[in-house]
Each structure stands twice: as structure tokens, then as C-alpha cells.
Symmetry: none
Subunit: 400 residues, 2 copies
Amino acid sequence: MDRHEIIKGIVTKNDTKLVLLVMDGLGDLPAGGKTPLMAASTPNLDAIAKESELGQTIPVLYGITPGSGPGHLSLFGYDPLKYQIGRGILEALGIGVEVGEKDVVARGNFATIKDGIVIDRRAGRPATEESAKVVKILSENIKEIDGVKITFYPGKEHRFVVKFTADGLDDAITDADPQKEGKEMEWAKPLRDSAKKMADVVNKLIKTIGEVLKDQPKMNWALLRGFSKYPSLPSFPEVYGVKAAAIATYPMYKGIAKLVGMEVLDAGTTVDDEFATIEKYWNDFDFFYLHIKKTDSYGEDGNFENKVKVIEEVDRNLPRLLKLNPDVLVVTGDHSTPCLMKSHSWHPVPYMIRSKYVRKGLSEKFDEFECARGVLGTFYAVDSMTLMLAHAGRLEKYGA
Amino acid sequence: MDRHEIIKGIVTKNDTKLVLLVMDGLGDLPAGGKTPLMAASTPNLDAIAKESELGQTIPVLYGITPGSGPGHLSLFGYDPLKYQIGRGILEALGIGVEVGEKDVVARGNFATIKDGIVIDRRAGRPATEESAKVVKILSENIKEIDGVKITFYPGKEHRFVVKFTADGLDDAITDADPQKEGKEMEWAKPLRDSAKKMADVVNKLIKTIGEVLKDQPKMNWALLRGFSKYPSLPSFPEVYGVKAAAIATYPMYKGIAKLVGMEVLDAGTTVDDEFATIEKYWNDFDFFYLHIKKTDSYGEDGNFENKVKVIEEVDRNLPRLLKLNPDVLVVTGDHSTPCLMKSHSWHPVPYMIRSKYVRKGLSEKFDEFECARGVLGTFYAVDSMTLMLAHAGRLEKYGA
């Protein structure tokens, strides 16, 4: 039986407040015996741990490394194997691109290519204004390919979005991205016959972009991935019976929140801004999804020290959140991003839930090892939403 | 593949004896640092723990609070999401009501209503003899509604059963019960068109009951819920190849045992009676389901002290069971009923299994925290039956 059908049958409303605090890529591996969570000074997280049930989550399946989409869908209670969402659509929604029935969107990276080899997948991480100028050049020079309308939208730093508009486009193609530096370009390939035209248009577009940008010092190439049409997802507020708000500073996370029907708040750009936002809107919503991006960014950069600092920055802000007195507070990540690996990983993710109904007393602090031995054990992240609702008294008994 | 199909393919018989001891609502939350299991003096449970594998079970899903039906079906190895059973049928079977193809049964509560508000959902918990008298009044005054034959059966305390008999009745209606006190009456609503008549008859019946009982001091109203026809479940003795007996003192648990095909023994009324019953019938069955009700009742009353006493009473009786030398002994609950919450809850349930094949040595005592860190980890209660059969040497290798 579908999980959401079961929930709909037993969900009930009350005036509790729930907070899901996601530190992106939080889980890590020990370096010199300590993970960033262990190395960080986190008096507030540790105090919460003493009042919480700890556990660790599997975002998708054991050994499966999730992208940001599946990592978040799980935490929102959507089976990530059932609901699959392209990165393109997330990025597009995050920057406010309207996506209709005839559209396929993709995420673009400006990259640096030399002698056919991708030498920098992010073109030296240009400033957002700089890359916006290059997007403007593309917009002026490329309007359509083989009858498919092409629209470009600037994103953060090296990122942009391309929208393809035509009748009958099929998004079932592979990414046009070698994923690693030092490799030759990887071209889009159709995953079924009906997507041949799409792959063809994408590859022609990339070659045209290469022509137009050939004299740019760094942003002289484009990698496109996450080709996707608009997916239809059950509504988070409807299924769970909560008025839900998203507080995030990066487009993709705003995008996924919007996709499930959360209201995306203007959350500024810093961790402090985000905590100020939850304070400001506290009375207006039941459920807050609060997303911290930089734990993941520094994990991907292999920057252990700065990952520690972001964790400490969040810890310093926690008293502001506790002062609001949420009925249910979950602190977790959407996946692990070990500094050692400089990438997302499959490792279980530290998790803790605080409410007045917790079996507390077993755990002393919040880190990977303490969570692995917590009272909640190891569980699938997709189970988090029912746990949160249960702790909020928002689920009736199942069956007589 | 269906779990029961797999089991049928590998199950084998031998002369082992298996005991599933279920302390209803056993799991709890710490109050002043201790749960009832921790506060109770349990030398025998703790001695068994040293010889057992410990773990904790999830009855249905993380965060889902099970009713008694799903809680028990899981322990009997029936997927509670696949097999859904109304409370009416459980209650009816427990008191020996015959249920046929044309029948729909429902559980009734005598309640107290005042100015349209349900002020006591259990009408002050009348004595069983008292409420039987009121059931007799109803039987004499109400024989049918709109061509549907109505039969009343007395139950324990405030409970009774109503049987509706007619061609083509559909049980897909909502409970006629506001679930909480201080609320207006909630009327039955059809869940599909074919159940409109059923909802209509139920609501007319309740109004008629209200008329008939309007001068009763407390039992002046009826709440009806768990409308259900007779479900068809795979046979426990057939699937598992055991001759199975149920030892329980309360109707619902006798009912569910009967439903899966166990033989229900006359078990008296006290914990001592129940242990005497297993002694008496030891040679006649392979599998004993032994149910202790009062751990749950005291949990629902929020009576920590008495929950402790029931656990101690069971503990004192355990040497009688151990003397019989069961090959496999499981001690667990069907769900948690924290005194703090005065209701069933979603929290994992302490579990231990003893046989000569256990990986023993890790655990020192039997309580929620020790179980959370036991060698079995956290697992779904539906997996318990295969574990039990395996420890009894009753399952062949799966696959070549």
C-alpha cells in the first residue's frame, strides 16, 4: 500500500510546530579519528542530543549515493525510488523559471574546455554577475535549434538553466557531462527511440554554444544535465495536513520545496539570515524546512576546517530556534559528503528528533558514532516524516 | 514475492515447542529516567536476557501507532499493511459471535452524552453485568432497521457488539465515534457509493439507541466503530506447520488468534491462570501464543506503578514456563503504550528470543535501552515468525 495513502487515512491537525533542520551533506568520515561533527564545538547540538532520540538514516538504499533530489524527497517522505526528479527541474524552479507541458529543462554548468578535454567543470567558479553576462550573450545568439525554442536563464556562479520548448519532446536522455575533469566531453544519448531528437538537439546546442563562446577565457563550454519535464508530486501540505514553509538560500532547495508545494520564504543569504527568517515567520506556518547549504559545499571542496566552522555557526544560532520552542525538532542531513571523498556518499546520515515523547537518556552528543548507537537504530530517511508527525501528535492510530 | 509463499516452500516440522509471550503495550518512555521495565524487579526476565538475542521491533512503520489488530498480525507474521482487519470482527470473534457472509459487525461503546457532546466515551466503565443489562434492553427494543436485522451481544465493561445482517451490506464506512471526549457526535459516512445504505442504517440505529436509553444515568449513548465483514487470512497452522494455541483473557486477542486459525484455550482471568493453562496444555500443541493484557491497560490509564507490578507478576511466573523448557521463547509486546501518553504509541518494542542457537553475551537485562542496542538491532515485527521458526530448526535453507 502506498505510504501517502496510509498517512492520509490517519493524519490529523493540531497547533504543533515542526522544524526539519537539514545540514546538507552533514555526515562525514573520521580524519585523524574525528569527523567534522566530532571536531566541532557544538554545545547546543549536544544539549539537544541529551533530550532527543538519535539514529542514522539511509537516504535511498544501503550503498546508494543520493543526489540532492532523492536526498530531500526522502526526508519529505516521498519514496525516492518511486519519485524521480531531474536536476534540471529543481534548478529551474529554484530560480523562478516557469515550466510548462511542452518544456524540457536542464541544468547547465559553464566549463573550461581545452583541446577537447574538460579541464574545469565550473570554469573557475565565476561570480554570478560575470556568468549572467555570458548567459546574455547566449540568449542573443541562440534562439532555436531544429525548430525547438531555446531559452537561457542565469543561475548562481557557474550555473544556468536551459529550457527547450517544442511539441513532443522526450526528456529520457543521458547527461551531456563527463562528470570528471581531465576527460573528454560526454554527449547526450537517447534512452529510448522517442528521445533521439532531444539528444540530437542538445548535442547541436552544445556545439553551437562552444562556437559562440570560443573566445571566452574560462567560460568557453557548457555541460548540460538533469534533463526533465515537470513532474507531478503529491502535495506535502495536503498529505501531511501542515502549512509548510521552506527556508533555503540556494535555488535547488527552494526548487524542490516548491515542487512538493511548500511556500518558499525569502531567506536572505547567510545562516544568520535563515534563522532570522524562521523567527519572522514562526506564527505563520506549522512546518519549517530549514536548509543549510555550506556543510555540503565545504565537504565537496574537501575543506574539513570550514565544514567544522559551518556546523559551529549553526550551533551558535540554535538557541534562537529553541527559544521558539518547536514541538518537534529534527536535525539531520540529506546525505553524507565526506571531506575525504569531496563528493556525496552513501554513508548513513546522523539524525536526531526532539519532542516531549522521546525515549531519551541514551545519547550524550550528536555525531555519526553516537547516532549509529542511538535508540532509533538505522532507518530509511523516508520514514522521517511519519516519525515527525507522530511526535507532533498528528497521526491517529493505524487499525483497530 | 509473498512472505507466506516463501515460508511454505521451506517450512518443515519437528517436535520443538515455541512460545510467543506478548505483554501488551510493553514498550514505554522513561519517567524520572526509568521505564516500567527498568523500574520493575525482573530477575527472571534479566536472566533470560543473558541467554537471548535482544532487539527492538517496529510493529508497522516508523512513526505509525498500531491498533491491537496490526500489532498482533505483525507478530504472527502477517504484513499489517496487506491484511487489514476491523475492530468489530476482532471483538465479535472474541466473544464467540458467529459471523457469516451477509453480516457486518461493529464494536460498540456505551458512552455518556450531554447536550449533544460526548462527555465520557466509556460511560464511566460500567461493570460487565451492568452493561449486559442495558444490552438486553436494546435487544428487546431494536430488532431491525430498514430491513437490516440487528443483533446485540454484550462484551466486557462498556463494550458490546452489534451485528447487521442483510444482503449486499458494504462495510466501507467511517467510525461513528468522535474519538475524543468533549466533542460532538461523529456520524458514520460511506467511503464509497455502495456503502451509503450501511452508513444510513448505522446512524438511524444510533439515534434509536439514544431514544431507548435516554433515561439511563450514564449509558445513554452508543459509539460504533470498526465496521467489518469476515476477512479471509492465510491459516497460521498451515503456513507455519504448527499446531497453535492461544492463551488470552480478553476477547479481542482470542478473536485475532481464532481469525488466523489458532485454537483458543480456556485461560481463566489472571496471569497465574494463564501460566497454569500453558502448563496444562503443554503436550498438546507446538506453538503457544500467551497474551498478557494488563501492561497495556495500565499504560492507557497512565498508571506507571501498576504497569510495573504486572511486569513483576509475569516475571514471578516465568520459572513455571522455563521449567517446561520451550525450545524457542520470545518475550515482547505488540506495541508500546507509554504511561506518559496514556495511549498506544509508535515507539519501538522491546524484543528478546531465546533458543540454543542464539548469539548471546551482549545483553545483561531486558529493557527498552538494552534492546535498542541488542544484537538483533531494530527490525519489523513481521519478521519475528521466521526468526522463531528458524530458531526452532523449522525452516530449511532458502535456495540451493
